[in-house]
Subunit: 326 residues, 2 copies
DNA sequence: ACTCTTGATTGACAATTGTCAAGCGATCTC
DNA sequence: GAGATCGCTTGACAATTGTCAATCAAGAGT
């Protein structure tokens, strides 16, 4: 039954068809449940090659393997969190291998969830940060007709591997939607400079769009430890000092919150270009992706303030949030 | 590090949360790439249980594993078929294990493709048959906003495990769309009975909807061998005799075609309730799911007649169709 | 014509995964 | 309350899968 074994290079294989054995190996293995040995025989290569084909098929997203986010939402601890903080929905990922940093693991769960809840013609506001960037990188490709992705907070300088725009462009590209970036810094030097920027017609239009967001996606940072905001030079310790003095412990989308979830306003707010906390709270569906024990107080603050309708986090953090007494 | 091993039944596990360990096993194994042993340790159960959990997770579609249909379309033989018969797209599945019947394997590929090409607000016409039924059973659950699924050919009596309505209801249920079944037999006893039926307001409305289909899905049957149509009592040998005499070799959606792909009309056409071939040809996107060497002449006839814009078939059949001389 | 480099392929071995019969405990029946 | 039954769990073994260093083919450079 087995065909004679031929090396791939001996077959007349124009380069554009080189994917064939990979696709077929994937089909036979994953859909028809043949063993790798059977696939190898059918394709006329060694089993080791089949292993390589399958690896490449996964890498190139020819096969997709994903845990449906609605099932993560039905996990007990997720339900408890939803009830406690009146969330529309909540995803809790189990404590797993520590090989990947927590924000990548949460980013992946957030990516699955985002695809499940995005609807055609949504306008998705996107803040920026480490977890949001991970989410954008983990997103599977999918066609979501008519979706617009807009940046809701001005940019920081950006390091080699991280620029704020990457969050929006990644997401927009993968879901095949329109991408609208804010062409403005997140913090300008003086309040009057902000006014100048905000009068620019392009920014006026962008803000009109931003205020029509149907969903928004953001992370949360601590003020105490080295967050992306600090490391990226977006904020400096002296700039945030007055906020800390007045009780600020958390930052979301560049804005400050105290432990109770109340906004902490200050001079800097008049220099920031991006949605305010009040404006974010107007958006119907607000997805917060954040986890890790060090962020617990900050996340609690966001939840108490009612700024999130959906939370994606990890198990230890979720337990701490449920156990917290108000 | 390992938690003490506790039996699931010793934990306070209200039945509605019984899925928890299954969901988490799935996440840890498939998303975090832990080994089953690590998962077992983390969950405090034996590895054998993890195997069972993962099995159940797959069965219950908590994890989905699927080969993207657009990659099957890029396979060489599929491109050749597309060029040869001017198809918009073509999916060819490789010859695999013979454990599953050919129509189930093609049904699965068709299911993947359907999800890829369905767009919001589509009106999908669905014929009925063995392969279409398999497709409907293999379809993954997904929300396709605003899609309507309509039956385009009246029903036959239906056997225990197969009723024509199942094709439409399955598809509609899984994509979360509206389901419109034809409440009429596929073949009535006399032409004047058909006229009476067609004047019924409910049928008039249904046919108006059917004629607005944006996509249509159908199989093909041979006339020579025992097709579903014959086995289900929908047609009888004596009824189809006149058609065979005049060259009919294929049936699609209850209507007859000759080897060249030309319609073969006859007395029976005036007793059939359902779309005519001409009406089907008006629909913009026409998906034909059919395979198996015995169906080659019938499929070729459908392709020659230009009744399909998308074909889902298997490799040996595809090769035969490409090699055929016109 | 020879050698070097690159990238795909392979066989042999190690690790992981699937199977299955036996075990265990909860619940039901008489 | 003994015994039967059902469903879930487990340990041990068998089968499958992943790894990796060695090999091979083809093209580039001298």
């Amino acid at each position: 039954m087995a065909q004679p074994r031929v090396k791939r290079s001996e077959l007349s294989t124009p380069p554009e068809f080189a994917g064939d054995p990979i696709v077929w190996a994937a089909w036979l293995y994953y859909e028809e449940r043949m063993t790798q040995e059977e696939v190898a025989e059918r394709l006329g290569v060694s089993r080791a090659s089949v292993v390589n084909f399958l690896q490449e098929a996964r890498d190139r997203n020819i096969v997709t393997i994903a845990v449906a986010s609605r099932h993560l939402q039905s996990v007990q601890i997720a339900r408890e969190l939803s009830r406690r903080y009146e969330l529309n929905s909540c995803v809790v990922i189990p404590q797993g291998s520590d090989e990947l940093p927590i924000y990548e693991r949460i980013g992946r769960a957030g990516a699955r969830l985002l695809l499940d809840i995005l609807e055609p013609n949504d306008v998705l506001g996107v803040s920026w940060g480490r977890t949001v960037l991970s989410l954008s990188a983990e997103l599977a490709e999918a066609k979501m007709p008519g979706v617009t992705v807009v940046q809701i907070a001005g940019s920081a300088i950006g390091t080699k591997e991280f620029s704020p725009e990457l969050c929006t462009t990644n997401i927009a590209y993968r879901i095949g939607g329109r991408c609208v970036n804010l062409h403005a810094p997140g913090i300008v030097s003086r309040p009057d400079v902000k006014k100048l920027f905000m009068q620019e017609t392009s920014l006026v239009e962008q803000f009109r769009l931003i205020r029509s967001c149907t969903k928004v996606l953001f992370g949360v940072a601590n003020l105490s430890d080295a967050s992306t905001a600090l490391r990226s030079g977006y904020m400096t310790p002296e700039k945030i000092k007055p906020y800390v003095k007045r009780g600020a412990i958390a930052v979301m989308s560049g804005r400050f919150l105290d432990a109770e979830g109340h906004p902490v306003l200050g001079a800097l707010d008049e220099q920031m270009i991006g949605l305010t906390l009040d404006e974010i709270a107007q958006i119907p569906e607000r997805i917060c992706v954040a986890g890790g024990v060090e962020k617990i107080p900050a996340i609690r603050s966001v939840l108490r303030g009612g700024y999130a309708t959906i939370l994606v986090t990890d198990e230890p953090t979720a337990r701490a949030l449920v156990d917290a007494d108000d």
